[in-house]
Symmetry: C3
Subunit: 351 residues, 3 copies
Amino acid sequence: MQTDRGRFFEDFSVGESIVHPTPRTLHQGDATLYMALYGSRFALQADSFARALGYPQAPLDDLLVFHTVFGKSVPDISRNAVANLGYAEGRFLKPVFPGTTLRAHSEVLGLRENSNGKTGIVWIRTTGTDDHGDEVLSYVRWVMVNKRDPDKPCVHEPVVPQLQSVVPADALKAPAATDFSRFDTRDSGSELCWEDYQPGDKIDHVDGMTIEEAEHMIATRLYQNTARVHFDQYAQGQGYHGRRLAYGGHTISIGRAMSFNGLANAFCLLALNSGQHVAGVFAGDTVYCWSQIIEKAPIIGRNDCAAIRLRLIATKNVPCRTYPYQRADGTYAPEVVLDFDYWALMPRRAG
Amino acid sequence: MQTDRGRFFEDFSVGESIVHPTPRTLHQGDATLYMALYGSRFALQADSFARALGYPQAPLDDLLVFHTVFGKSVPDISRNAVANLGYAEGRFLKPVFPGTTLRAHSEVLGLRENSNGKTGIVWIRTTGTDDHGDEVLSYVRWVMVNKRDPDKPCVHEPVVPQLQSVVPADALKAPAATDFSRFDTRDSGSELCWEDYQPGDKIDHVDGMTIEEAEHMIATRLYQNTARVHFDQYAQGQGYHGRRLAYGGHTISIGRAMSFNGLANAFCLLALNSGQHVAGVFAGDTVYCWSQIIEKAPIIGRNDCAAIRLRLIATKNVPCRTYPYQRADGTYAPEVVLDFDYWALMPRRAG
Amino acid sequence: MQTDRGRFFEDFSVGESIVHPTPRTLHQGDATLYMALYGSRFALQADSFARALGYPQAPLDDLLVFHTVFGKSVPDISRNAVANLGYAEGRFLKPVFPGTTLRAHSEVLGLRENSNGKTGIVWIRTTGTDDHGDEVLSYVRWVMVNKRDPDKPCVHEPVVPQLQSVVPADALKAPAATDFSRFDTRDSGSELCWEDYQPGDKIDHVDGMTIEEAEHMIATRLYQNTARVHFDQYAQGQGYHGRRLAYGGHTISIGRAMSFNGLANAFCLLALNSGQHVAGVFAGDTVYCWSQIIEKAPIIGRNDCAAIRLRLIATKNVPCRTYPYQRADGTYAPEVVLDFDYWALMPRRAG
């Protein structure tokens, strides 16, 4: 009797739709554990703060929703993946509250065999839905997937999807039925509003967080992400790295939580423009990060809040006082592990 | 002033009833943390999936209930235990939902001194009850317990209880007010129903999970299990193993969670026929597992679901592709750590 | 663009009031995770037990509330602290239930530069409030804080506040609308009531708990305590200890949880008289503890319960069978890490 061992490159076809098991109900306990894993301090995750802004209660952290939807897709998409290469066209479409049961489905957008014949790249759009069937999140990612049979030429015609390099500002929407003119900057931890940041500004988030095996594994299981590379030291000990690789999303959440230092009022995510896991992160590594303001944009129909585009760079074992990023030739400095480009929502200054 | 240091072998008497402190309320947060510790993906733990089947909300994982009731019994029964030798006659009698306060009590079924005079075996039936006083779980275990005074001959007449080797199929009941004809095999992660499994089938569950000290200790404290051997490195460092032993139930839960790969629709436990912790598991060990179908049985009065009897074998540091189990002489292969025989419930194929 | 790096000694002034961001809603999931981190077994944290005594549901552990309020104060007060020197005049004023959003504010009570010119001591009273604005907790602590500019003489006149050495017994109040004559000592884990303890009694709490990096970091982030010294191995590896220091409150909670062995009915905290982190605790250390009864006092207007004053001593890597404490010259034995003096509430014997 054979256990499903996941799809190989040959098993995908462009246009194919995949419904991912199993549904997952997120509770307040998930919010608690997420907070304990990352130490996030954004005030929106406190009930009374959220209610004052028009939310019925505190929404779940956007990245907890992202990781949960991502996790649903792993057994079908990336169980046999070599690497998660990039993200694009991510949009956070609706706040998710404790008690919501999330489901996820994906569409195959593109396929291209690599020249070595052993692997191929699969482009996938994954969408998460809530109990009402409403889309809460949608994003594209592309992954390098092993072929089942490296010796057999590929049957797929190469299809490479056209993806937006940045989610356009006029597509961004603030959550419905909210009013951020009531945003209390004394409670939120910073007086700096949207008007106070300028494109080009760089912010060192100061803190450092050392990764433990128990922590990245607890996080990754919380997301029901089953990729073996994160959990099985016996197998990984015989592999390329010799040890378990932390889920890339773990680093995103660490960076986002530390970005509170300097961006306390960038309180929710609107869109994920692009993301790249530049290098692997392992237990024992200390993660630091910094952000740069890329651009600013109004939100149509809202003068209580606006959008800010940020590049979050995370490093390992090198503090970010000097803002490490790319070298002159466009390659990344060796300490950089994450390059994450996103739109966040910020309150505007009253009047 | 003396702190209670737990009972020794001399302190038990056959027929004695013991009410275990302290009550424990299980919440949705317990379900979350349990999921994050084991990565379980059974769909029944999602609210919307459970409601579609007639449950008022998602029940707690059966093994979370088991470990909680077990934990209650530890300070009275096995604080001075040398080893937990076996389980029998376990029955899961009623689903437990978040918000339930569990209590536990035990009855001493048997006692027998070991020939070395230093230890004895105690047979105990432990029962967990909910807020209504209804029994939710009952099982027998036997443990080797130290004598207080190894030089003094034992006062107990040996009493060895007669235990069923398997819970009989006609004693198994499906949860009341449920209808598994509505079981959605697209959401659950597998199309395989009760009809698709045959006695003798073997299933490799493929994944491996490496154990960390922080994880087995967080789990064991979650169950309020206070056995010193799991927590105190200073004392254990001077003992036989030289390190902390993981709670045996931690391995059961890891195996059960990984058995989703191949048994996704064996969604709840009905009975625990027998169980044996064949060898100790320690931080750094990677656990693998496989299952064999032992027998199948209908549930009286139900044609939407039926019972399947499974043997779950867990190993350490050896994958289960070759289904390691016992040698010709009936002893276990050295990598086997758990032999766990249980009845699970599965949906039947419609019509 | 500069991230806030916290206050230095020069930035404080006596009488100043500081409102700490960000609000924090505590849920049942926080109670679960707290239990899993420490293994606390006090029966009051079970809903049905608490309801029988007049509480609407189980209150959160007093120390979870303490750590949460403490954590709020860290970014403003002790981000650049060298050491947390002591506590006084702590009072637990109102039970806190899941769903409560806590806020915190502080007042600067005193300042004194140290003779080396590099650091100074800051005395702070921190108060936590609930959704009604009611005070739930208030305590004084003093910390040694770095000066920004060690070469510049200090502008502050030294002000050293007069603090009570012990919270007077007649200021202690039991929670409103409770009746502990219904306290069920079978459920609570001990028959010993207030009458059964006498000043001078010593209790060895027997258990030992080894600290893991993942555990003290998960706990400290749960409290949103951002002090770098707990999280950043890269920076700490170059510092005095060469490793991450566990948050002192982590040891308090371990000790309090283990004190269940012998003090099961000291079910809630009334006041914190004094506390001192005598030595640092690190991953790998095993914590033991013992308690001494210091005094007993009635609670005005109540004959169902009374106050007991306890000194909790925690050690590392030395069991507490011989009650290690201070040497003849008043200095602490080298294994002592915590000296914590508090008032707890206990039920009185009926009739």
